[in-house]
């Protein structure tokens, strides 16, 4: 017998087991919109007068987020960063451009190779970081700088419930209390040089953002990044998915329990003192040795790359 929608009793198209619910198309959109609205309100993420920059990759999460924010009436521009991962990056960029054009939305395009002289495949290994590590570092830097340069009030990322649960799981396994203390749906701009960062999808599961895109007809890049194989976070996600299958709601309880009952207790663990990077002027962690020069992780990685890569022509940035 076909499943019925929990709200209207029509034929369901999407099951949400952690809420013991299923929804028809329209009620599913209502449910997702409600989750995002609740997230924004609870943590005062955005205001309707804010200039919002959505970091988009061409994947399901960021495009669903951009679509939702536009639908909710926010002034949301997109920011795509080309990582230089061959055909994968070309396809991702094309998907973002088509999405923006179809909605008359503004998309800013940045290019790692043109602006900083390296691509992620080149950087993997050359910086002493994994490809995912250097990719994350590069994105955080470029998103923050682009938002500052463009006068945006807030950067939105498409981190979803599964992403957040997997990161919390990894940090808990290693008792990375400093990182746990900073894992929150909102990171305020605590000093000049930092832009507020928010995660409006933290209440929405990854499977739900994919379903949202399919039901909305949003073309997203289904293929995995070719560099992601063996990524630790992916292994953690698989572990959590096994647990979720046996006990629906496990990921939700893990993350929400942390945010509501443990995150506050860990605030004291976030003892990172911030300062200005001596090379680029962006905000970074102050070195333990007060006599040492403060250089941000992005500039340090870039400096290591310059030594290992052939000379490339930098056109801007």
């Amino acid at each position: 017998m076909a499943m019925r929608c929990k709200r209207c009793r029509g034929q369901a198209v999407m099951e949400v087991r952690r809420h013991n619910a299923a929804f028809c198309r329209d009620c599913f959109f209502h449910y997702v919109g409600q989750q995002v609205t609740r997230a924004i309100a609870k943590y005062r993420m955005l205001g309707h007068t804010d200039r919002v920059l959505v970091a988009v990759s061409g994947g399901k999460d960021s495009l669903a987020l951009w679509d939702l924010l536009l639908g909710l009436g926010y002034q949301a521009d997109g920011l795509y960063l080309s990582l230089g991962i061959g055909a994968y990056s070309e396809r991702s960029k094309g998907v973002c451009e088509e999405f923006a054009a179809a909605r008359g939305a503004r998309l800013l395009v940045h290019d790692l190779a043109a602006e900083h002289g390296y691509t992620i495949p080149e950087a993997a290994g050359g910086t002493g970081r994994s490809s995912c590590g250097v990719c994350g570092l590069s994105k955080r830097y470029v998103f923050n700088k682009a938002a500052l340069d463009g006068g945006y009030d807030v950067v939105c990322t498409g981190h979803n419930l599964d992403d957040e649960a997997a990161v919390l799981f990894a940090n808990t396994l290693r008792w990375e209390t400093g990182a746990m203390a900073r894992q929150f749906p909102v990171l305020e701009a605590t000093r000049p040089g930092l832009v507020k960062k928010v995660k409006p999808l933290y209440r929405v599961a990854e499977r739900e953002t994919a379903a949202y895109c399919v039901l909305k007809g949003i073309d997203y890049v289904v293929e995995e990044c070719p560099l992601v194989a063996g990524n630790t976070q992916m292994r953690h996600k698989e572990t959590l998915n096994q647990m979720e299958e046996a006990a629906p709601g496990t990921k939700h309880s893990f993350l929400f329990g942390y945010l509501e009952r443990a995150a506050g207790l860990l605030k004291v663990a976030d003892d990172a003192e911030l300062t200005e990077c001596a090379r680029c002027g962006m905000t970074t962690q102050a070195p333990e040795d007060p006599a040492a020069e403060a250089v941000c992780a992005f500039c340090r990685s870039k400096a290591r790359l310059v030594k290992t890569l052939p000379v490339v022509k930098v056109t801007s940035g």
Binding site: A12, V13, E15, E206, V214, V222, E223, M234, N241, P248
Partner: protein, 80 residues
């Protein structure tokens, strides 16, 4: 009764015999229902939806990096 399932990513196609509902198909494919969407002719299916002979469905992994199922072994073909 034969259903053709296109799994992605990564892209691969298998034929599965004698599966009545989506839930049965996912069991045969050794895929976690919470990690995929099942799509037929552009429409999402729930685990309880019935399959028809000759159906062509897409089993799309919706969890980044969650591509699982179909542990290395001969394709799930035929059957009684």
């Amino acid at each position: 009764m034969l259903v053709t399932a296109r799994l992605r990513p990564p892209d691969r196609v298998v034929e599965v015999a004698d599966v009545r509902r989506v839930a049965d198909l996912l069991v045969r494919l050794e895929v976690l229902p919470g990690a995929v969407l099942v799509i037929r002719e552009g429409a999402l299916l729930t685990s309880q939806d019935e399959l028809r002979d000759g159906d062509q469905v897409e089993v799309r992994f919706a969890i980044s990096g969650g591509s699982g199922g179909l542990k290395p072994r001969p394709p799930v073909n035929g059957g009684g």
